[in-house]
Amino acid sequence: MARTRIIIILGFLMLGFAIMSWRLTSLSLLLTENNYTSHGKKENNSSSFAYAPRADITDRNGIVLATTLKMPMLYADPTIIPSMEVLNNIALDISQVLPVDKETIAKKLHRSGRFIPLFKGLTPKQQKDINELGYPSLGFRESFRRVYPEQNLVSHILGYTDSDGLGIAGIEKQYEETLTKPSSIALTIDVRLQHILKRELKKSINNFEAIGGSGVIMNVKNGEILAMVSLPDFDPNLPSKAKKIELFNRNTTGVFEMGSTFKLFSIAAALEYGTVKESDKFNVSEPFKFGSHTIKDFHREKKPLKLSEVFSHSSNIGTAQIAEKLGTEKLRKFYKNLGLLNRLELDLPERAYPLLPRKWRDINTITASYGHGMAVTSVHLVRAASAIVNNGILPTPRLLMTPKKKYNPEIRIISAKTSKIMRGFLAKVINDEKGTGKKAFVAGYDMGGKTGTAEKITSKKYDEKLLYSSFLGVFPISEPEYIILVSIDEPKGQKDSYGFATGGWTAAPVIGKVVSEIAPLLGMIPQQQE
């Protein structure tokens, strides 16, 4: 009996061996689909894959803005360095090949352990040079480094990663999970526009000896941000070298009193609520008095102004009269609908809250009507202004080509009729002989715009000399597609600007130059002039 039973057991065991052999054969020769191999689907979802590099970030045309490169790390095994002499030679030789000093390396080589990291992110050339030194105590470990080929150009939007490749600012932080999965991200930014905007902005900052500046170009219909520049900027490849002021994103973290560009909102509100009509006239010959406050105009006009002139001449007195008529409640509600009283909505972790009066009194309504007494970000302003020109529909600014969340489809702020009137006012600012924004005129493109010049507060008082000068442009003004805001921080009056440093002198020319260059890139044909 035992014999038969041994044969039975043996049969089962051999069956087991046969199964193993079959499985081994099919795995080795790829006869079965292996759930786990690099050919399978599983890998895409598997976060346990050891070396899945962080995904790329591109611009809207697929230009790489951030990528991950395999760059080996140099390490040393000091236990196999035979003598002090050799150790010093190693340190000296490394310092000649890599941008590190000899002492730093020597110090590290004195440590105990068998794996002392010396330098991260070697280029192939540097690796070859180290190999040619021929020290057996030096080795490489595969590692990855985040590289930003456009360097400073898109720095504030992209943000940067720490040495472990973890996103700690900008898109890198906001979409950490997406990037590590990895799946790449396409931004709405167009590097060509970004470059032009940055170049012109920088010129103006230099010309007017300003401390900084910012610019945003946005699609008024869908809220796609095509360019967003903040100067001074930094190189995200070397975030540790960046100064605090350079890391500061003026467009989304910086809140400023925007000045006269806000007249766009208060006048639109008054028109929409029927407080004023387009044909109304305003006497602005005397300063406007409200309690103990006196409001003056930059250029005083003797004759009564039409509503369009209040806007194009940028009369604070006229706007204050309108705001008084409109009333606090309506103005605040209108500003709130435009998103000017809430935290900025954008795909960035760096988003500011507006700076509002602690208690909103009627005087705050008056000053807020011409952009004083409250501070918002550039993107706040651009978004709200888009609604005014875009037939009254408020877009939500965004940076991703394929949004991760749903946006509110249509938020109507004003009627299409009011929007059309406002567009007429904006066109006049640039095209009118006496308009404040003449310098933004570009032959062949119909544009509209509004200047904004705010005095900055130093020690609780407005300082006439410290200005925040901006210009908001919209084109084509007949049927707006793009909005562009340029702000120059603390420009100083120059000889060739006759000492002026207002938005019309500093920011408007930037807009004119930028639009003349980007409009063809955006597929707009210049109209024939007579």
Binding site: M1, F17, S28, L29, Y36
Partner: protein, 393 residues
């Protein structure tokens, strides 16, 4: 090569002409393959944990020499002494098992190790061959003497060991131990109905283990539903067979050992697949198969019930360890840390295998004077019916 005269009557001469030389040579071939694979796999593991590259190779060679010495020494022994050694080993290893429960070092969630004279020993490795010998002796004795209830005593001993192993917990070893016992009582001639019952008990035990022991639950859950958890080791292991293909990457050229913490032990089969390719790995499987078939067939021809049961028990243990190891690497079975006999690095495993195979070699010798149970015809077991009258109806 060897010049030993047929008429040589010395102990060595007698041994040489009576031992199963085919089995002996296949075991040595296996050991050679083990040395090569440990040399290929372990330097990467050693370097990762900052040990000298040949740390594991040297230790493997030392333990292998000890193992060969033990194996050859045991194969020289008479059956009576084998039984005595088995009993001593069983008592010793059971004491050690109890000690691990009290003082054992906790490695990866289980307390399986005991530190003795600078060595870490895994008593569960030694308990298996000892059990196979003692169990075989007890059951064989009952075949000879009706009054002696060896079947019951052996079952009690097995259950005690099983409890100790489950307490550790070491599910793989428990399963192997259970299988040795099942093989022996099956060969002793228990009725098929009882066999079916035992198989069912086995299945129930697995289900209970799955439901009550989180450690077992996780492993099985991951096996049944690979995407549910961390299957890093299995992924890497399966990749390695793909990577190796027909001829392999060549010794030392593989990558799986860079990623698997236990490449030199629990996943050495994956290293074999990657570096030596399909053909050589199939040959390795064939070698294991040959050893098992050879020892089982030699057991069949043996007249002594003690030998049949002990050799079959040890062979089944050897075969199951091989199958579980390979099955884990190939994702046919849930991942279970099990060494590949004579191939994997692991001192306790090597020594235990030396003991096991030494016993098999001794018992399959042609000249063994038949022990206590040789006077009866061992091919039938008349006593079983008397022991279990229930099945006699």
């Amino acid at each position: 090569m060897f010049s030993i005269d047929r008429t040589d009557k010395s102990i060595l001469g007698q041994w040489w002409w009576s031992v199963d030389r085919w089995l002996l040579f296949s075991l040595f071939t296996l050991m050679l393959a083990g040395i090569i694979l440990v040399m290929a796999a372990s330097p990467a593991v050693a370097e990762r944990i900052h040990l000298p590259p040949f740390h594991f190779v040297v230790k493997h060679l030392i333990f292998l020499m000890m193992s060969v010495f033990i194996m050859l020494s045991l194969s020289l022994l008479k059956l009576r002494n084998i039984w005595r050694i088995g009993l001593v080993l069983l008592i010793g290893s059971m004491i050690m098992l109890i000690t691990t429960l009290v003082f054992g070092a906790d490695i990866k969630g289980s307390s399986r190790w005991i530190h003795l004279f600078g060595f870490s020993l895994q008593p569960s490795e030694f308990v298996k061959p000892a059990l196979a010998v003692v169990g075989a002796w007890l059951i064989a004795k009952q075949c000879n003497e009706n009054k002696f209830n060896g079947l019951l005593i052996s079952t009690i001993i097995y259950l005690m060991v099983l409890c100790l192993l489950i307490k550790q917990p070491d599910f793989g070893m428990s399963f192997v131990t259970f299988s040795i016992w099942a093989t022996q009582i099956f060969l002793a001639g228990i009725p098929f109905a009882l066999v079916c019952l035992i198989i069912m008990i086995g299945i129930v035990a697995v289900v209970i283990a799955y439901m009550t022991l989180p450690h077992v639950h996780n492993r099985i859950e991951r096996f049944l539903n690979p995407s549910s958890g961390d299957n890093y080791q299995i992924e890497k292991s399966l990749d390695s067979f793909n990577h190796g293909g027909l001829f392999g990457t060549g010794p030392g050229e593989g990558q799986v050992k860079m990623y698997l913490p236990d490449a030199h032990a629990d996943f050495i089969f994956a290293v074999a697949g990657e570096e030596f390719g399909l053909i050589l790995t199939l040959l390795l499987i064939a070698l294991f198969g040959f050893i098992i078939v050879r020892s089982m067939l030699r057991a069949i021809n043996n007249k002594d019930m003690f030998c049949i049961l002990a050799v079959a028990g040890i062979s089944v243990q050897f075969a199951l360890q091989t199958l579980i190891h390979m099955g884990s690497s190939l994702q046919i079975l849930p991942a279970k840390g099990m060494t590949l006999p004579f191939i994997s690095y692991g001192g306790s495993s090597l020594l235990s295998m030396g003991i096991s195979m030494g016993i098999v070699l001794a018992m399959t010798r042609k000249d063994q004077d038949k022990y206590v149970f040789s006077n009866k015809d061992t091919r039938s077991l008349p006593t079983v019916r008397a022991v279990y009258p229930f099945f006699n109806k």
